[in-house]
């Protein structure tokens, strides 16, 4: 099992690896190895490789030259032309630093961001990165060059979570700055004003961008399993609260579910893919979601 590349999809395993670009590669390789006979294999304009014909393959792609030489049917595979432009918007606000089991939301989000970037670059798509909290902390223009990954992962690694999340101005601004239609991937815990968020997302949609929202949450945030008397220290300049968690649990979960429901509904309304991730979830989910979105986009 040790050499099973799929193990790198498990956040627990990933947490032991420090270098983000290595992580990204391991994740994607693990993911690809699971995509045996997957419909997501890309087709490029440029020739990539030959593959033996199996009945059912499109006969248009049979390389007749090879047939002439070897008397065997080979299918010609092409590298698809890069025409998808993606921006990954990663939330690096203070709230992303929360963790209950060692993997912070930001760490998880970083893995998602890096592995998506790697996957995109592998598929000749161009990818850009935006790190934000209450303002844009870093903006890397999109590029399809494989070396772009290094830049992206390095930028993510050197960023410390701080500041409040604010989406309204930033997203509006970004929507204006990213002129070409593309795929906007937002990785955040979305601890912002929901109405502001939805307005901002609508702005992206208005600019004809595809939007995927990866809602990264910690398991504890969803279940609130605390029992002992606890002093809750608020991140993002929230005041602290001294409370008996059992007495608060019901109301908290109610509030939290209402928030999630509202975000989900808003996303559905604007045809935005909403994916909830918990830091203990396998990264496969995020990558599959992206590929599914990309399929829809290229067909």
């Amino acid at each position: 099992m040790d050499d099973d590349p799929r193990k790198y999809l498990d956040p627990k395993v990933l947490a032991k690896i420090s270098k983000l670009d290595l992580k990204a590669r391991l994740i994607v390789e693990g993911f690809i190895s699971g995509l045996h006979k997957s419909p997501f294999h890309g087709f490029s304009v440029e020739f990539a490789q030959h593959r033996e014909y199996v009945p059912g393959d499109d006969t248009r792609h049979i390389d007749w030259k090879v047939y002439g030489k070897s008397d065997r049917f080979y299918i010609k595979q092409y590298e698809q032309e890069t025409n998808l432009k993606s921006y990954i918007l990663l939330d690096v606000s203070e709230s992303m630093a929360y963790t209950s089991d060692g993997m912070t939301k930001l760490g998880y989000g970083a893995c998602v961001a890096a592995s998506l970037a790697y996957l995109m670059l592998q598929q000749q798509d161009s990818v850009g990165l935006v790190l934000f909290d209450e303002e844009v902390r870093a903006f890397i223009r999109d590029s399809g060059h494989p070396s772009h990954l290094k830049l992206i992962t390095h930028k993510i690694e050197e960023t410390q979570p701080e500041g409040k999340t604010k989406v309204r101005g930033i997203f509006d601004d970004l929507a204006e700055r990213i002129t070409r239609r593309g795929l906007i991937i937002i990785i955040s815990d979305l601890f912002v004003n929901v109405d502001d968020l939805l307005v901002a997302l609508r702005h992206f949609r208005h600019k004809r961008h595809e939007v995927i929202v990866f809602h990264v949450l910690d398991q504890y945030e969803k279940t609130f399993p605390f029992t002992d008397l606890t002093l809750f220290k608020g991140l993002e300049q929230y005041p602290q609260l001294f409370a008996e968690p059992r007495t608060l649990r019901a109301n908290y979960l109610e509030e939290f579910d209402a928030f999630v429901r509202k975000v989900k509904q808003g996303c559905r309304q604007h045809a935005i893919d909403y994916v909830q991730l918990t830091t203990s979830d396998s990264l496969e989910v995020a990558l599959s979601t992206y590929l599914a979105a990309r399929m829809a986009r290229t067909k």
């Binding site: 939301k105 008397l229 002093l231 220290k233 109301n251």
Partner: protein, 717 residues
């Protein structure tokens, strides 16, 4: 009003602060979580704040209350005025105070009686307005001081303060039976019996380790009421008392030299008493004194003698130097001194020569007139009659009747003899050659139901007087009739020769006793108690026909003793115990004009109650020990009578009975026991708390704990 039996335990109430302290400690020991989703938490907290605060306060109050209740329960709280607070009705307190004379035992200036009345007042203090009280004084006649439950506590208090120390003994069964009636008849829900006494062992009248009747009464009481036994006795029990004063002879004759009296001095204490001075008084004048030493727990007799010179009623007393319990240090005796005492001798064998006749020796023995020296020492006046004259003679005036060798007794005479004995007279029967034994057996023996103590069964012995038998009186005999024949003096009876004797067959009956026998075991003298009198039956003659006893000195002694033994007990009705009723026939009412009775407490005038053709005098108020002198005018002459009232010697025994013993003897007696040693008033305060609340408190704590768990569960969900 709530009071606490063990107020120290209230310190446990500090425990109640535990939940608060735990709460505060918890506030300092908490987890710190850096939390991202604070917005929702704050919103939740804002929504929750009021409810949670309320719930927390409720839980805190519950937990604090539980501990407070437990601490309070351990302090054994009680409601002094329980009834009202608990919504019950008022309570009834039956206070039984021992005021027998033993309560007058004085140590310093303190007496159990004083302690008892003070305690009774404390009991009253513990009552509330509306509670009711019955008061019973325990003395010889248990007296309900307040029979109908009184709510006027001040009046009760006045009664308690007035309650005198009596000279009576403790009659607990009567008092408790009375208390049981009072408790049973009361409809109040809460009833208490306070028994305030010096708790003498004798007061409980335990015989053979039990008193089942009293146990029954106590069971009745305990089934309806709480019993508090307050023991007010001192630890010391030293007491010396005169327990009896009696003449040695039943008949006291005028002029008889040195009539002897014996007083018994008993030491009920635990240390030997040396040289107690005992003084002897006649008619109130001191005649002399002697000193006596009595070992602890033992008794000693002191004798006095006196020669009476007039044939009237006299009073005597023996007085010891007063000790801590003075009431029993003097004892009184009233005696009738007689001019003479008539004795009827029925002569069955008249003869010219006095000593040939059946009663000749007897006449001489009872009244030895021939010798001037003896004349003064005897009081008997023999009257000799023929059997034929017996039917016409009223027997009442005789001290006793002797039938000596009378051949036959007819049924009429037998009936009049029976009536005479039943009324207190006595008959002495001697056999002889003339006696028709079958007639005696039929008319007098009546198969054991008649006067004759034993059946005649022929004559044994040797008519030729060549062989003889003797009486066999043991030197250690204990019979009262033979008291002069103890030790070496038994020879007076054992040496004389008996040649012939009547075979006596006494039935096995409780009322029949063989006083002495012959050497070979045949009964020689048999006694039967009959009515208020007694019958003596000899197996040998009164003269020397069958025995040589009449010619020996033992005969004189024996006959004097027989006379003294069978003579009417003249002291019996004259010497009473405290509380007894005096009854006197005073003859035809019309002739009695004025009756005055001088009591130890003062003089009272009395009126006789008419009864058939004569008047009867009844006097019940004999509460004081001492001499009572009765004077009445009848037929123009003044008659005088004296009687005495003494304390009950059983009350002098201050031996105490402890609570464990009481519980053993009376298994159904459940009581709370207070002693002077434990501080009567404080322990009363502790015990008064009839309505213990600890059970209720613990129950409440338990309920609260359940509620707390349920709420905590629910709030936490």
């Amino acid at each position: 009003m709530i009071q606490f039996a063990t107020p120290l335990m209230l310190a446990g109430a500090a425990l109640a602060s535990a939940p608060i302290i735990i709460h505060l400690l918890n506030k300092r020991r908490f987890r710190v979580v850096t939390w991202a989703a604070m917005e929702f938490l704050l919103a939740s907290s804002r929504r929750n704040f009021r409810r949670v605060r309320l719930q927390e306060i409720i839980l805190l109050v519950l937990r604090t209350l539980v501990l407070l209740l437990v601490a309070a329960a351990m302090a054994r709280p009680f409601l002094a005025g329980a009834g009202r607070v608990l919504g019950l009705s008022q309570r009834l307190a039956v206070i039984v105070i021992d005021n027998s004379f033993s309560m007058g035992y004085t140590v310093g200036s303190d007496r159990p009686h004083d302690r008892a009345t003070q305690l009774a007042e404390k009991i009253l203090d513990s009552l509330n307005k509306g509670d009711s009280v019955c008061l019973i004084a325990v003395s010889e006649r248990a007296r309900p001081v307040i029979r109908e439950a009184s709510v006027d506590l001040d009046a009760v208090r006045a009664e308690i303060r007035r309650l005198p120390l009596s000279q009576g003994s403790t009659n607990l069964p009567a008092a408790l039976a009375m208390a049981a009636d009072m408790l049973r008849s009361s409809k109040l829900a809460q009833k208490e019996l306070y028994l305030v006494t010096d708790n003498q062992r004798t007061a409980w009248q335990i015989r053979g380790g039990e008193n089942s009747e009293l146990n029954g009464i106590l069971r009745d009481i305990c089934s309806v009421a709480d019993v508090i036994l307050a023991d007010v006795a001192f630890d010391t029990r030293e007491n010396v008392a005169v327990t009896s004063l009696e003449p040695l002879d039943r008949i006291i004759g005028k002029g008889k030299a040195d009539t002897a009296f014996a007083a018994r001095v008993a030491n009920f204490g635990e240390t030997d008493q040396e040289n107690i001075e005992a003084s002897f008084f006649v008619d109130g004048f001191r005649q002399g004194s002697t000193s006596v030493s009595v070992k602890a727990g033992a008794a000693a007799d002191v004798s006095f003698s006196y020669t009476f010179h007039d044939a009237v009623a006299h009073s005597l007393s023996v007085k010891l130097k007063a000790d801590r319990l003075a009431a029993d240090d003097e004892r009184f005796l009233a005696v009738d001194v007689l001019e003479s005492a008539k004795v009827l001798l029925v002569e069955g064998k008249p003869a010219q020569d006095l000593y040939e006749s059946a009663t000749g020796y007897l006449q001489t023995a009872l009244s030895p007139k021939a010798d001037a020296a003896f004349q003064r020492s005897t009081v008997y006046e023999p009257v000799v009659l023929q059997p034929a004259e017996l039917g016409r003679e009223p027997l009442d005036k005789y001290e006793f009747v002797v039938l000596a060798d009378v051949d036959r007794i007819d049924a009429n005479i037998a009936a009049s003899l029976e009536a005479y004995v039943r009324a207190g007279g006595s008959v002495v029967i001697f056999p002889g050659d003339a006696v028709d034994q079958d007639n005696y057996n039929t008319v007098l023996f009546q198969e054991g139901n008649g006067l004759l103590p034993a059946k005649f069964a022929g004559i044994r012995g040797d008519p030729d007087r060549s062989t003889f038998t003797s009486l066999a009186v043991s030197p250690e005999n204990t019979h009262a009739l033979l008291k002069e024949f103890r030790q070496t003096k038994s020879a007076f009876l054992n040496l004389p020769q008996v040649f012939r004797y009547a075979a006596l067959e006494p039935p096995q009956r409780d009322d029949t006793t063989v006083i002495c026998s012959f050497e070979q075991g045949a009964p020689a003298l048999v006694e039967k108690a009959f009515g208020r009198g007694r019958v003596l039956q000899f197996a040998f003659t009164a003269n020397d026909a069958w025995t040589d006893l009449p010619r020996r000195p033992g005969y004189l002694l024996l006959m004097q003793e027989v006379a003294s033994y069978v003579a009417r007990d003249r002291q019996k009705g004259k010497n009473l115990l405290v509380g007894d009723t005096v009854l006197r026939d005073v003859g035809p009412e019309a002739l009695v004009s004025k009756i005055t009775l001088a009591t130890p407490g003062g003089s009272v005038n009395l009126a006789p109650t008419p009864e058939a053709n004569r008047a009867r005098l009844k006097f019940e108020n004999t509460g004081a020990a001492g001499v009572y002198e009765l004077k009445m005018e009848r037929d123009g002459t003044t008659l005088q009578d004296v009687f005495t009232v003494n304390v009950d010697p059983a009350e002098s025994d201050l031996h105490h009975i402890g609570p464990e013993q009481l519980r053993r003897v009376f298994p159904d007696f459940r009581f709370r026991y207070l002693t002077a040693a434990s501080g009567l008033e404080t322990s009363l305060k502790d015990t008064l708390a009839k309505s213990d609340l600890w059970k209720q408190l613990l129950l409440a704590a338990l309920v609260l704990m359940c509620i707390e768990s349920i709420l905590a569960q629910r709030f936490g969900r």
